[in-house]
């Protein structure tokens, strides 16, 4: 018997008797052909200390942001999440209940959703926010799905500045919706407005961009919105929620749907999840929003209270006519998000954003001053920038890793040979200087070995 269950042998006998059967087997009304007549081929259960040891051993074989200086980004960032986030989200009252179907005993979770929605609406400058979807890239697909419903069109024009993972996810989903996906390229690091204008047509449901984009550049959303709206398409922007603290809001810029990855808001890196996706939109989309939404109301005695609102959009009510299929979402992660935002506060969010801008511009200067390093663009950046060089990226990363630095995320073939380098408030100027040093060493070595190779060849 595992320590998680409590039925003793004696109780089992008594309970079987109360049921009126002789054995547990009698309760398994499973046809012989589909019964498993052997034990599962899994190891025996372990005591708690042994499981801990096993997992600690596995964890120790990962180079995490505590053991390395981490300049990795591309959607998730090594921000410092204050201890109070963990302390609160690990309270069993938040950790263990399910979706608040019984609002009378779920006011804590429901109110937190309402607060979360308010904060995300403030960040994006859009009036509607859902209580959270799975994570970043799939919110892009969800926004695109909404656009089909809203426009009855089935074509998306996607900027090459959108994170490749978001584009891949959209493509996967679009096979089902079904819808067509077209790309437009960048110019000077930002979406090429001319190509965009050429690509958008009467069949276009939505234009999709990222803000700041994959290469770190801040797009001119207002200009893009004009192009999209002219053709009757929606504008969807995948946003970095921290950057929204200082950038012109999507709402103000004419974006119809702002979505994004919520991890930077007080969530752990967790090798990619769980985190949450946010989803904000204009008033026009209120009946098409995906996911849970909390709403304010009153109880029979007139007390203020919160409920799941607009449930007629959802799968458990509307089934095949639902606006989205999501059920279990990422409530606890979104809770972490609103707690983090409360901790940062109005002033802290701005201060953090400005710190990022300053250190990021500094880092870009430092790194592009290295011989052989080129900036991929010189558009303004907030927290991330892309550099190119012509040494093998893997080799360069290995060299940096050997010096305890995770130098960046490889750009991938589409954007050329180079790295995406991300800054957080945990990356000090000293660490940035050290990165510059180590990177320059790495490139020097690469150059040497190229010369040698050339020498040997020659």
């Amino acid at each position: 018997m595992s320590g998680y269950t409590s039925v003793t042998d004696g109780e089992r006998r008594e309970m079987l008797a109360a049921i009126g059967v002789d054995s547990i087997e009698d309760l398994f009304d499973v046809p012989a052909g589909v019964r498993l007549d052997r034990d599962l081929d899994l190891a025996d259960g372990l005591g708690e200390a042994e499981v801990y040891e096993r997992l600690r051993d596995l964890a120790s074989r990962n180079a995490d942001a505590e053991s390395e200086v981490c300049f990795l980004g591309a959607g998730m960032y090594d921000h410092y999440a204050p201890a109070l986030v963990d302390a609160i989200v690990s309270r069993s009252e938040f950790l263990t209940p399910y979706t608040p179907y019984q609002p009378e005993i779920s006011q804590g979770g429901l109110q937190a959703m309402f607060e979360f929605q308010t904060a995300m609406s403030e960040l994006t400058g859009l009036p509607l926010s859902s209580a959270g979807l799975y994570e970043g890239p799939s919110t892009v697909a969800a926004a695109a799905y909404l656009a089909i419903g809203a426009t009855k069109r089935r074509r998306f024009v996607v900027s090459a500045g959108v994170n490749p993972q978001s584009r891949q996810t959209l493509t996967t989903y679009a096979a089902g919706y079904p819808a067509e996906v077209t790309s437009v390229g960048l110019d000077g690091g930002r979406t090429d407005l001319d190509s965009l204008a050429a690509a958008v047509d009467e069949e276009t449901a939505a234009v999709i961009v990222q803000y700041p984009n994959f290469l770190g550049a801040v797009e001119d959303l207002a200009a893009i919105a004009e192009v999209a709206h002219e053709a009757g398409a929606l504008l969807i922007a995948a946003c970095d929620p921290i950057a929204l603290g200082i950038l012109k809001t999507p709402g103000e810029s004419g974006v119809d749907i702002a979505v994004g990855e919520g991890q930077p808001l007080g969530n752990r890196l967790d090798y990619g999840g769980p985190s949450f996706g946010f989803f904000c939109a204009t008033e026009a989309q209120i009946r098409r929003m995906p996911g849970r939404i909390a709403g304010e109301t009153t109880d029979v005695d007139g007390r203020r209270g919160f409920v799941l609102a607009l449930q007629t959009r959802e799968q458990h009510i509307r089934r095949e006519k639902a606006t989205h299929n999501i059920c279990t979402a990422q409530a606890l992660n979104a809770l972490g998000g609103i707690i983090y935002l409360s901790w940062l506060g109005r002033r802290g969010l701005v201060e953090l954003g400005e710190l990022l801008v300053r250190r990021t511009h500094y880092a870009r200067e430092r790194l592009t001053a290295i011989d052989g390093v080129e900036p991929l663009h010189d558009a303004p950046v907030v927290r991330e920038f892309a550099i190119g060089f012509d040494a093998p990226v893997g080799r360069v990363l290995d060299h940096c890793a050997a010096h305890g630095i995770a130098a960046g995320v490889p750009l991938g073939s589409e954007h050329g040979n180079g790295l995406l380098v991300a800054i957080t408030e945990q990356r000090t100027v000293t660490q940035i200087d050290r990165l510059a040093e180590v990177l320059s060493e790495a490139l020097g070595q690469a150059a040497d070995s190229r010369q040698q190779a050339a020498g040997v060849g020659g």
Partner: protein, 523 residues
């Protein structure tokens, strides 16, 4: 458990403490100039230039976001107070049918919080994330054994995401056979969970409903009638949402398979059969597993979870990327020398692609893997046994007395880990609806069962106690329902007006729908 709900209050004129609190949001607590975080200086050489020199003013925010301005103690108090307005799994029985509200071991939280997991960046090079990849690979192998299907993708973020994945796999499979255009229909029984039809639509398919027979299983005639060359897939839950194992399961899957469809198993009810029966052996091609149900990931007030999928050989080529591959070491050194790699679309060109960013809800994988290691194969099988025992014991208790009279089983067959009662008798004879019984249970400090689902049962109450409840707690639940029904015989109004002791009482949901207020007005 020994709560005496009906005893008189200590004195009149004293509201329940919780009900005294007016709900105040964190925004309403804000006072300009307060704050909790201390953000360091940028500290770049040469000092701080104006932000406008780095980013053109036209791209900058005109006003700071009106986030709350509150000190740390206020944040802690605020959310602690909110937490106390939630009922949770540690408060008492939580027999929410279809949700498997089993105990969440604290060990799992501890191992998930290890910096090697919690602070591992998802873009870390695989060579420097070998522990994480090995963990994921090991979890894949365990799920494969439990599901009886050889291949796994851990990527889907929840059950519904797994469903969508399964349907996109189905589409890719049929496309590969040149049948994408004609196979447009997906069969789902009328007992199916709402996510099933919603996923079907999102995947561009049409839902075809299959009837339930009088024994609570798939109506074979209806199934046969609707199974033709237009069928892309059958989606089934087994035991189904009535808690009943379909006796005809082999025939059902064979029928659809012969017609060329794929077979999708909704694994929400896997907790009934771990180590006893395997979806793969039943004939399914694609299974999703809700790690937040059978594998003890805490539900978090509505997530996070994860919905890994297990698939058969014929579906494997289409699995989402990235996939994890175990590469044996060349040194003849055996297991110790194996490496784990992430493979993308280049290596798997027929893949449907990505379903989300990065590698999935890794933190959930850690918890569920810890759970599997803790229980082991025998422990998992025993967990299912006890889940089934507890459900049947509770049912036996509820067939006695008034529950047996007013709340009969919807389908009179032996259930597995959960059962569905119909409240139509109580409604008719006592004038008390399922909703009223649920609300009155709140005054007993118990979470109600799932209500009004599955849809085909009138006034449904769907009860899933799980294996981690004690017998005392099952007895307490049966006693509470009995006392509510007895009370309703005397005075049905008590239940109709319930609850009384909760932080708020019945809420105006209709008003909230008519006039949705979904964010705070900050003026």
């Amino acid at each position: 458990m020994s709560d005496t709900v009906a005893s008189p209050p200590a004195t009149a004129d004293v509201p329940a403490p919780m009900q005294r609190d007016r709900a105040t949001t964190i925004f309403e607590r804000s006072v300009a100039g307060r704050g909790a975080a201390a953000i360091p200086e940028a500290g770049v050489p040469g000092g701080d230039v104006a932000i406008e020199e780095l980013i053109p003013a036209g791209l900058l925010r005109s006003e700071p976001a009106r986030l709350p301005e509150v000190s740390e103690p206020e944040i802690v108090r605020h959310y602690t107070r909110l937490s106390r307005r939630n009922f949770d799994l540690d408060s008492g029985i939580y027999p929410l049918g279809s949700c498997t509200m089993k105990h969440n071991p604290r060990l799992n939280e501890r191992v998930a919080a290890l910096p090697g997991h919690a602070r591992l960046h998802p873009a870390q090079a695989p060579a420097r994330a070998q522990g994480a990849l090995e963990l994921m690979w090991s979890l894949e192998r365990a799920l494969s054994e439990i599901c009886g299907l050889p291949h796994i993708s851990l990527q889907p973020s929840a059950g519904s995401h797994g469903e969508l994945a399964g349907l996109l796999l189905t589409r890719a499979f049929h496309a590969d056979h040149g049948e994408e255009a004609e196979r447009t229909r997906v069969l789902t029984p009328d007992t199916a969970h709402g996510t099933n039809p919603a996923s079907v639509t999102m995947a561009g398919y049409e839902v075809v409903k299959i009837a339930t027979d009088e024994r609570g299983g798939v109506d074979l005639d209806d199934l046969r009638a609707k199974t033709d060359e237009r069928v892309a897939c059958l989606m089934l839950t087994n035991p189904n949402t009535l808690g009943l194992f379909d006796p005809n399961i082999a025939e059902i899957t064979a029928t659809v398979r012969e017609a060329g469809g794929t077979l999708y198993y909704d694994g929400a009810n896997l907790n009934a059969i771990m180590g006893h029966s395997r979806p793969g052996d039943m004939g399914f091609d694609i299974v999703h597993v809700n790690l937040h149900k059978s594998f003890s990931q805490p539900h978090g007030g509505g997530g996070p979870g994860a919905g890994p999928i297990a698939v058969s050989d014929r579906i494997e080529p289409f699995l989402p990327v990235p996939r994890i591959e175990r590469v044996e070491g060349g040194g003849g050194n055996g297991a110790g020398a194996a490496r784990f790699e992430l493979r993308d679309g280049e290596q798997h060109p027929r893949s449907i692609g990505r379903l989300r960013g990065f590698q999935g809800n890794f933190g959930v994988f850690v918890r569920s893997y810890a759970y599997i290691l803790s229980l082991g194969g025998d422990g998992l099988a025993e967990a299912s046994e006890t889940a089934v025992l507890n459900a049947n014991y509770l049912l036996a208790r509820m067939r006695e007395g008034r529950a047996g009279k007013y709340l009969p089983l919807a389908f009179d067959r032996r259930p597995m880990h959960e059962f569905v009662l119909s409240g139509s008798g109580a409604k008719r004879e006592l004038g008390v609806r399922t909703l009223d019984i649920a609300k009155r249970l709140l005054d007993h400090n118990m979470h109600p069962p799932t209500v009004y689902f599955p849809l085909l049962v009138d006034e449904a109450l769907m009860v899933e106690p799980t294996e981690t409840e004690t017998r005392e707690s099952l007895d307490g639940f049966a006693d509470a329902v009995e006392s509510i029904l007895a009370e309703a015989e005397e005075n049905p109004e008590i239940a109709r007006q319930a609850p009384y002791t909760t932080p708020v009482r019945r809420l105006d949901e209709a008003g909230a729908a008519r006039n949705p207020v979904i964010r705070e007005d900050l003026g």
